[in-house]
Amino acid sequence: MIWNPNKECMSRDEMHALQSKRLQKLVTYVYHNVPFYRNKMQGMDLSPEDIRSIDDIVKLPFTTKQDLRDNYPYGLQAAPASEIVRVHASSGTTGNPTIVGYTRKDLAVWSEVMARCLTAFGVTRDDTFSVAYGYGLFTGGLGAHYGVENLGATVIPASTGSTEKHIRLIRDLKISGVACTPSYALYMAETLEKMGLTKEDIGLRIGAFGAEPWTENMRKEIEERLGLKGYNIYGLSEIMGPGVSYECQEQNGSHICEDHFYPEIINPETLEQLPYGTQGELVFTTLTKEGMPLLRYRTKDLCTLYNDPCPCGRTAVKMGRIVGRSDDMLIIRGINVFPSQVESVILTMPEFEPQYMLIVDRVKNLDTLQVQVEVRKDFFSDDMGRMLAMKKALADKLKSVLSISADVKLMEPGSIERSQGKGKHVIDNRKLV
């Protein structure tokens, strides 16, 4: 099913024309309403009239997370305060959080794109759908919530927290779909098993997973343990929240709601725009946003855009999996290491729980990497030789994938902290020195 075929299946020419028209309007709007952008454009000797088509986007300045911090709280807001009806904030691990104001029209667009996502996942008016993202300043909870309501399905605002209670509700209310982070989905699977229930006892059919990068192996694991089909949903609060892109039934790349969010891939070093099919940093321009519109916002997410036709009938460009974040990337002994690489290795080995922690340190001027993993209860053996072989097997696989050796530390089941929000998998002690 397709929620809005007019937009989701638009011909590429029509889309180009629509994006061009919207970009011109956006640039004029921010030039007159956001001093930050006016100053930047004037500094580049650029006026709104210079933007005639979407292809002219390369002339425009970028926006970074640092720009948002520097203009805290409302410096990049374009709409007057009287038009703002809601505010969300993204969790800033360092410095100021990012404050995003939404107008009534922004919220309508958000519900629209969320309804597109949910429809693509197979959710209909007849479904009862549970939102297990955190509700609050984080965009996940309320964003998904209003999308479910807009679609006409029944929403259960479960939020995160009492997982056992949530699982009982899924069983008793015949909830068919759930939106949460992939790591929380795994935690739900663990809890389900701990409660002595099986995936047959609950009737989950659809999982909408996002807010953190995940891997194909993780999808298989969640699908197997919860008995559902898991779809990627992508978004970021600076741009809107969940709903920026979504997977279709092909489960092979996420269609971007391109009529609202214009994607580009750039080389993070040279900032030059890269063609389809090339990996680089994902950049978004909010074509229709009123509250806090952004030009060429650098997401720091690394991925690839694809424009080949999709069998589902949607014409929108697809983005591949997020392979890492340009700022999450660890450089260990000069080698780029992404936590997602470690995760994909662990998920191929049934001996370990899909929970892990990377501890990076520097000892005598040499970087060290320790990978902590939990041994699954069924795989614990009284035979020390077998336990050591298990550890060595993981170390060998990590070495071949990462190209550097890691010290594997076997941990007791349940000892690594479960994240209910964005998974935190790295402790880099080098920064403290």
Binding site: V375, K377, F380, D382, M384, M387, L388, L410, E412, P413
Partner: protein, 136 residues
């Protein structure tokens, strides 16, 4: 003729063994013998207790990875040379010992043995009229 030994997976972390003994103590489970096999980052705690099933249950409830292993427990006189006679017999029959640990009680010494071939080990020990402990 074999007994069930309880094995518990432990991280090498201060106070972890103490956790196990505390849980067992709280449930009135007495340990007759134990040994610890260690590697750099984890260890395997091996225990002989009377209420094995109860011990498994209470430790699993506390999220420990636990398993049972068949071992042979023999008692021999607590005097020089008595153990080596028995070990010689096992070696003659090519029984390999993965690990063993012992504890003395007055004039007796108890030895827990994990052989590679448990049936053959029991057979050899019976033939040499060794005192096999079935129960504590």
């Amino acid at each position: 003729m074999t007994i069930k030994q309880l094995s518990v997976f432990l991280e090498n972390k201060t106070g972890r063994i103490n956790e196990v003994t505390k849980i067992l103590g709280k449930h009135g489970i007495n340990m007759h013998a134990f040994s610890m096999a260690e590697s750099t980052d984890f260890g395997i705690l091996r225990l002989i207790v009377r209420e094995v099933d109860k011990a498994v249950e209470v430790l699993r409830n506390e999220n420990f990875a636990v398993m049972l292993t068949d071992v042979v427990c023999i008692s021999c006189p607590n005097e020089a040379g008595s153990l080596s006679t028995i070990l010689d017999k096992l070696a003659e029959q090519e029984i390999f010992i993965e690990y063993m640990y012992a504890f003395a009680e007055g004039d007796k010494a108890n030895v827990v043995i994990r052989p590679n071939d448990i049936e053959k080990c029991v057979q050899v020990l019976q033939e040499c009229t060794c005192n096999i402990t079935n129960k504590f």
